[in-house]
């Protein structure tokens, strides 16, 4: 027998479950403008505090304040607002399309639109994103054709990926969007490798890797930090902390201490947290990080703090594991509403113009959808020929696949 008290396993639980009244009033959120903006060549150890704080630009009065403000003019911000509105409208339309049986599966970015949309604006042609399945905002904020996205989602005969990939697993080298993987976290280290290649070649391109809060637990998150810090790779490492990983709250990946951003500090990587629902803050922090990468100062880790307002995917129903009202109670608000109010306050936007913009965007989305439907949908076809199923496993088809294709009679 032992003299010691029995041990017990601690299993973290979220604060609120269905039936609870979510109340985030005890969550301390730094005031907008209150967090300092260091020079880009700062050492990681001199900004440990930034990994525990939240950089915010828009205050409650809808003004942009503090050292991270004033990087974008009104026109740019208007475009950013429209980008976010486009993502939301696109998501809503595709969500519906899935319900209608046009595709097998869809994943929205509801509530997280600011992150990818703002980030897209700090990149230059030739840079490469290694995204997850929730960064459609990167494509929708650049000139990637919506109809191609929908063709992919419908796996139809015009699908640029030949019906081979799950819906939303886009790929576009030209638009700096690495082929999305269904396997979590693998892209995080691949982006580091790509950035290392740019440095090896003496080029000027940078990479960005993306990962969700839950997926930071995966080993490739660690691989990425090890390689990025060792070789000072020109990469921006983005964590999108939307509080949930399917039904699992972020405390299972994080424990109940420190922050996701703080994971970078042990590697000497400058690490910052940003209000992910504040378009202006995301832009400012992303720009800071991209500038570091481009200047050869190495990697930066950014934790974008946001909230997954929708279901994980069309296969998920969050009411089974979190209160329905949690999304509304979430203290960082809605990114579109906030940016809209900021512009209105500046006199650079109006309710009327907003309605108008929304209509215009919804029309664009509807048109793209109509266009795509002409090329077919998942269950009704047409698809590309089944014969193509055997292509591109290798650059040249080896004899055994030729034989199998023949046997398949396609």
């Amino acid at each position: 027998m032992s003299d010691h008290e029995p041990l017990s396993l601690y299993v973290p639980e979220p604060e609120f479950r269905p039936g609870d009244e979510p109340d985030f009033s005890n969550v301390s959120i730094p005031e907008a403008g209150s967090v300092r903006r260091p020079d880009i060549d700062v050492k990681a150890e001199d900004i440990h505090d930034l990994a525990y704080s939240i950089i915010r630009v828009m205050n409650r009065k809808q003004e942009a304040v503090g050292p991270w403000a004033d990087l974008l003019n009104d026109e740019q911000v208007q475009a950013g607002l429209e980008d976010m509105m486009r993502v939301r409208a696109f998501d809503a339309r595709m969500q519906m399309a899935q319900r209608q049986g046009k595709t097998s599966f869809y994943m929205q970015a509801l509530g997280e639109e600011a992150i990818a949309c703002a980030f897209a604006k700090v990149l230059e042609p030739g840079d490469m994103n290694f995204p997850t399945y929730r960064q459609q905002g990167l494509l929708l904020s650049s000139d990637y054709p919506m109809v191609d996205m929908i063709n992919q989602i419908y796996s139809n005969k015009a699908d640029p990926l030949m019906g081979r990939q799950l819906p939303i697993m886009y790929s576009s080298k030209k638009h700096g969007f690495f082929t999305v993987s269904g396997n979590l976290a693998t892209q995080f280290i691949q982006g580091v490798g790509w950035a290392m290649a740019s440095a090896i070649k003496g080029d000027t391109k940078i990479a960005t890797s993306w990962i969700g809060d839950g997926s930071t637990a995966e080993s490739d998150f660690h691989s990425a930090l090890v390689f990025a810090s060792t070789y000072r790779a020109p990469v921006v490492l983005n964590i999108v902390n939307n509080q949930w990983a399917i039904s699992t709250f972020q405390g299972i990946a994080r424990g109940k201490a420190a922050t996701f951003a703080a994971r970078g500090l042990g590697f000497g990587i400058p690490s910052l947290r940003v209000d992910g629902n504040d378009y202006l803050a995301v832009y400012a922090v992303s720009k800071w990080a991209a500038d570091r990468a481009r200047k050869g100062l190495g990697p930066t880790l950014i934790e974008h703090v946001t909230y997954r307002a929708g279901a994980h995917s069309t296969s998920d129903d969050p009411s089974a594991y979190r209160p329905k009202q949690e999304s509304d109670a979430w203290p960082l608000g809605d990114p579109i509403e906030r940016l809209k109010n900021y512009l209105i306050k500046r006199g650079a936007w109006s309710e009327a113009r907003h309605v108008q913009a929304k209509e215009m965007i919804e029309t664009q989305v509807a048109e793209a959808n109509r266009e795509a439907v002409k090329n077919g949908t998942l269950h009704d076809g047409p698809h590309v020929s089944a014969r193509t199923m055997f292509d591109d496993v290798y650059k040249e088809m080896p004899p055994h696949l030729r034989r199998q294709r023949q046997e398949a009679g396609v």
Binding site: M162, S247, M389
Partner: protein
Amino acid sequence: MARMTMIQAIRSAMDNSMERDDNVVVFGEDVGYFGGVFRCTEGLQKKYGPQRCFDSPINESGIIGSAIGMATYGVRPCVEIQFADYVFPGFDQLSQEAARIRYRSNNDFTVPMVVRMPTGGGIFGGQTHSQSPEALFAHISGLKTVIPSNPYDAKGLLISAIEDDDPVIFLEPKRLYNGPFDGHHDRPVTPWSKHDLGDVPEGHYTVPLGKAAIRREGEDVTVLAYGTMVYVAEAAAQEAGVDAEIIDLRTILPLDMETIEASVKKTGRCVVVHEATKTCGFGAELMAVVMEGCFYHLEAPIIRVTGYDTPYPHAHEWDYFPGPKRVGDALKKVMENA
């Protein structure tokens, strides 16, 4: 006795096991509060508390590695990998650790552990929710690999797996969770509630590891199959009008050679069926052992019908899936050959 779906049967196996043995613990991604994306662990956390059924971080190496540590302590973890496609970050812990700890330590440490995972296609899951990696496990000495095809077996085999003192890979054909799917994707599937093998005792029972079941007796040709392919083979045999003896392997390692050999020696012909890619799939091993054991009884070359050697394509699921037509053609061909 109750009618259960395969999901309910699997849950019932864990429930019975947790009730009988305090050492049984269940964890994995989303398996705690929510009860798993396929709901196999629903209610277990409520019943046994979060110390015995809990959510894990998304890290398959961590899930399997920590389960190994627990197992060597004396706890019996039954962990879930959300999809078989996602086991690979944990493949080192499985193949290099779990599989060899008993051997390398001369029984000083042992790993009684079950790793459950949904396998196979047929749900438009694309290349990352459809794979059938059983052959990779079968090549690793020290692992056992089980693939049930119905609720009764699923429960009995899972209880056996949990009670087994070695690491067991438990592959659940996700297309069978709700009913026996015969590959006719354009026809409704009979639910398990209308199928005899949906009759599942509520209490404890086992189906032994390493014993195949003959699903259909026949004289003309032996079909070796497991999981979903059992029903595809049944449909194919009927449609092709071939008097096939259909063997559901249930456990691919250890393999029930006795049942296989007796059947092939009787029929003199053999067709091997699986959904996994062809090259180096488990079908190759089946062809090899049948040749080794029954060469002089074979009246025709063994034919294998498998997934093609490509990733599992999303839109062309039904072109890829080895359905009743392809299996039926093989049955006819093996009968013609001589």
